[in-house]
């Protein structure tokens, strides 16, 4: 379907370009303008006849970082037009088509006053993936291509959507909107579920893995809106059908054991939404309320198979062959919300909001395992999973906004949530060719209580006209308590997943921004953000364990115009982040603090040689230094690299209708080879754009 839609878009573009050349010439425009009621108002086309990207190094990584493909690209970077036809009908089109990049967008909007409209849109782009796995010195890189011929994949996924919306607003009748959407994903992507590589007696999971994806989602909706007794009422009924086929393949780097998982998930969702709202008393009081019911049913068919290097089916040690596994879930959610806003004075507003929600989930699965070597497609044992949960959730919030103090706006907000969830989980093991597996049998009833609270205080101050300050502090406290009402006693070696008794989370946040305006040479702005997250987890029969994650972000931004012809902007951002757990002090499986620090610089400059000739350039540089050589303890995964992006272009306005813009860009990436499996790259990009305007 999407290839059909893509063909439609290409056809549309060819047609559009043809139309532009036939009807878009100045003479044609003039003639059209003379024809009563049929005006081509504006047409603009920016062809991008030639873009060349030369990559020296790891092209996959470059494509993943920059969302563009190496080699030649051509197409139309931008097309837009606006027509007025008879009877007040207005037609607008817009889009682009960079064919070799698989980057398309098309928008067509037809509107007749306030009575009716028809919107069509299609867009598609390509997401690229890095094909490298991890690095463990002195192990080698395990890029996909290194597994041998036939295993190399071009990793990209085409992502797109097509939407059609038709709306009609007849007098004295409800406004109706009909919509259809199709979303799709198609391609092969990388996964972080890496496979094992063994050198000597050391095992590290650093081998790359890919997954093929073919996914479509079709959605239909009808919406009605009408004023009823002063209330604006809206109702919507939506249906969604989702289906996907995925295939994931993991190939062990040393044993050449191949594991392949195929999944076919499908789902159907129906949602009904009713909303009303009204302003009272000269727009000083507002009330709104909404109700939503959604029903979601999904099922999944799955198969997991193991092969040797020649793709002969095998059951290796600890076999994972699963045949014809099936699962089904049902989820119903009823949600009701209401909000009240009062503005007693211009300088004070108060609002409060409520939410009540009830939900119910049922899940069921069969997981037949075939452990015979080679597999005979007959289950040895089958695990049967059965989960049921139901519960309720309430939310409340209060907000105050105050602007009585000159040059100041202050606000404070309180938000609470209470939830209770009853969950029943049971798993059984059925005998097949082998006896049932007692280790896989368990049952549990858990009552979960959740209490959350968030308090925010913030504001904006302009003490003088050229200083602007905004700040906010936010504190959040979450508490979750798990009460096991019924639980199969775990054995010495059989683990059960419900080992939590409770967890608390405290989050403290601070944000502040200061900007100075109307200054000579520079207009600077500074923003600081702090987030401090503390976890306290209580496991069954054990003392509380505390962990933390803290991050600081400092951003400095400046604009300068030292000469009338020269405009400069600069930005510096430092982000530091550290995640610590008591595992950093453990003698066994020691896991040091994980740092994710990065400094980024952005500079741009624009110089006007004349009204018709403008030079633009930009530099982006980022630097990460997080390599933590704990070779004996684990796998170093901190990012340690440098990136430089440099672009320069010249914009030449040849005449009123034609603008030319040649562009050059240089991209460089360098990583610490002890921490990163991907290669470095040096990239040169050459590009010419031309904008042609009529009307």
């Amino acid at each position: 379907m999407h290839s059909l839609a893509r063909s439609m878009v290409l056809l549309m573009y060819m047609g559009s370009v043809l139309l532009v050349f036939i009807f878009g010439s100045p003479a044609s425009i003039q003639a059209a303008n003379q024809a009563e009621g049929n005006h081509a108002l504006n047409i603009s086309v920016t062809p991008e006849p030639a873009q060349f990207i030369f990559v020296n190094g790891d092209a996959d990584r470059f494509q993943a970082h920059h969302w563009m493909q190496e080699g030649y690209t051509g197409g139309v970077k931008n097309f837009s037009s606006e027509y007025k036809l008879k009877d007040g009908i207005k037609v607008e089109t817009e889009g682009h088509a960079l064919i070799d990049q698989n980057d398309y967008e098309a928008l067509v909007s037809v509107k007749k006053g306030d009575l009716l409209y028809l919107d069509f849109s299609y867009d598609e782009f390509r997401k690229y993936f890095d094909s490298s796995g991890g690095t463990y010195y002195p192990f080698g890189s395990m890029a996909l291509g290194q597994f041998g011929n036939g295993y190399k994949r071009e990793l990209f996924v085409d992502i797109g959507k097509m939407e059609v919306e038709f709306g009609i607003k007849p007098e004295h009748l409800p406004e109706l909107i009909f919509a259809y959407e199709r979303h799709f994903k198609n391609g092969t992507k990388s996964r972080l579920t890496w496979t094992s590589v063994v050198v000597g007696s050391t095992t590290r999971n650093i081998g790359p893995v890919f997954q093929e994806v073919d996914e479509t989602v079709d959605s239909f909706s009808i919406k009605a809106k009408k004023d009823i007794g002063g209330f604006q009422a809206a109702a919507e009924q939506a249906f969604e059908f989702f289906g996907a086929e995925t295939m994931r393949e993991e190939r062990s780097g040393t044993t050449n054991k191949i594991r392949r998982q195929t999944q076919n998930p499908r789902s159907f969702m129906a949602a009904s939404v009713f909303e009303v709202e009204r302003w009272f008393w000269k727009e000083r009081v507002h009330f709104s309320s909404g109700y939503r019911f959604s029903h979601l049913n999904n099922d999944e068919f799955e198969r997991l198979a193991e092969f040797d290097i020649n793709y002969n089916p095998r059951s290796f040690a600890n076999p994972k062959n699963k045949i014809n596994a099936i699962a089904e879930n049902d989820l119903d959610i009823h949600t009701w919300v209401a909000s009240f806003l009062g503005i007693p004075w211009e300088w004070l507003s108060a609002s409060t909001r409520f939410k009540a929600e009830a939900f119910r989930h049922k899940g069921h699965s069969f997981y037949p395992g075939d452990t015979t070597d080679p597999p005979d497609n007959v289950a040895n044992t089958t695990e049967v999973g059965d989960t049921k949960s139901k519960g309720g959730r309430f939310g409340e919030s209060v907000s105050l906004r105050f602007t009585k103090i000159p040059r100041t706006a202050l606000y404070t907000e309180l938000e609470f949530e209470q939830a209770r969830l009853n969950m029943r989980e049971d798993q059984a093991s059925l005998a097949g060719q082998s006896a049932s597996n007692a280790n896989e049998v368990f049952g549990r009833d858990t009552l979960t209580d959740v209490l959350k609270g968030i308090w925010s205080l913030g504001g904006r101050v302009q003490p003088v006209s050229f200083i602007d300050i905004t700040s906010q502090v936010r504190y959040r406290n979450d508490g979750t308590n798990y009460d096991d009402r019924r639980e199969t006693a775990p054995g010495a070696t059989t683990a059960r997943s419900a080992f939590f008794d409770g967890q608390h989370r405290d989050v403290s946040e601070l944000m502040t921004r200061v900007s100075l305006k109307h200054f000579r040479l520079l207009e600077p702005s500074f923003r600081y953000q702090l987030q401090d997250v503390k976890y306290a987890t209580r496991f069954e029969g054990q003392p509380i364990v505390k962990t933390s994650s803290i991050s600081h972000i400092y951003t400095f931004d400046v604009t300068s115009q030292p000469l009338d012809e020269l405009l400069l902007t600069g930005s510096f951002s430092r982000q530091t982040s550290a995640t610590r757990t008591p595992a950093q002090l453990s003698a066994t499986a020691n896991t040091p603090t994980f740092n994710a620090d990065v400094d980024s610089w952005l500079f741009s400059g624009s110089y006007s040689f004349s009204e018709k000739l403008v030079a633009n350039s930009a530099v982006v540089y980022s630097f990460s230094d997080n390599f933590n050589d704990f070779t004996n303890a684990g796998l170093p995964l901190g990012v340690d690299d440098q990136r430089l992006d440099l672009t320069a272009s010249l914009r030449w306005t040849v005449n009123d209708r034609l603008t030319l813009e040649p562009k050059y860009a240089y991209y460089r990436y360098q990583a610490n080879s002890n921490a990163d499996a991907g290669g470095d790259y040096d990239v040169h990009l050459l590009l010419v754009e031309a904008t042609v305007a009529w009307g």
């Binding site: 990388s190 095992t203 879930n329 100075l516």
Partner: protein
Amino acid sequence: MPSFKYFHFFSIPSILILFFLSSCRYDVETVRRALEAQTITITGAEYVGMETCAACHEKQYLEFKRSTHARIALPEKYSKAQGCESCHGPGSIHVEKEGAKGTIINPKKDPSTCFACHLDKKAEFQLPYHHPVKEGKMSCSDCHNPHGEEVKPWTSTSLKDINEACFKCHKEQRGPFVWEHEALREGCTTCHKVHGSIHDKMLLVRDNNLCLRCHTQADFPNIGKQSHATRLPQGTCFSAGCHTAVHGSNFDDHLRY
């Protein structure tokens, strides 16, 4: 390859120099010319005030009164660029040309308007793994409703579900699953840095610490009843061939597949 680490050492002195230079006042007209090159100003346009916008865009005008962004709106007497025009630019030309295309800033098509205040997000979108906002394939408004009562995709009082903004595109993670991962109840942002990250898949933390924030227990390296002493050093919990179904599994209660 030659290193360019020296860039790094310019950072602190550059900030100091920039702040020092900024102590000289500038005339408003020149600043205006500078800002015209940015996105929040439209050449030749004047501010008209929110009431003028309301004449045609009443729904958005009223919606904005309740929105998160309105929390920091100052009365117009203190600054002309308030309300609608603080993001959409001055509206006089848009009014004169009866709403013609291209006469007002549409932040949906250019994130620069959002980045003018959200400087940190501008930097995050420059990081290697990011949603393609600066590439123009997505916009801030795909996930955020800037006019809405809540700009954030979710609060405790939203009609929508906590991860609904993410599941619009990432349906394969939506579930529900027979065996769920409770972390998803707290939202995707518990593990993902959604604007941009230095880690693949936009992860907040790339190694075992991501999971150990919640799953460290007093008798570590035990997790549950199982010792993970030899497993943890081999790779991250979801990378090391074990708990690969981190978003939830229909078949395995330990989220292995």
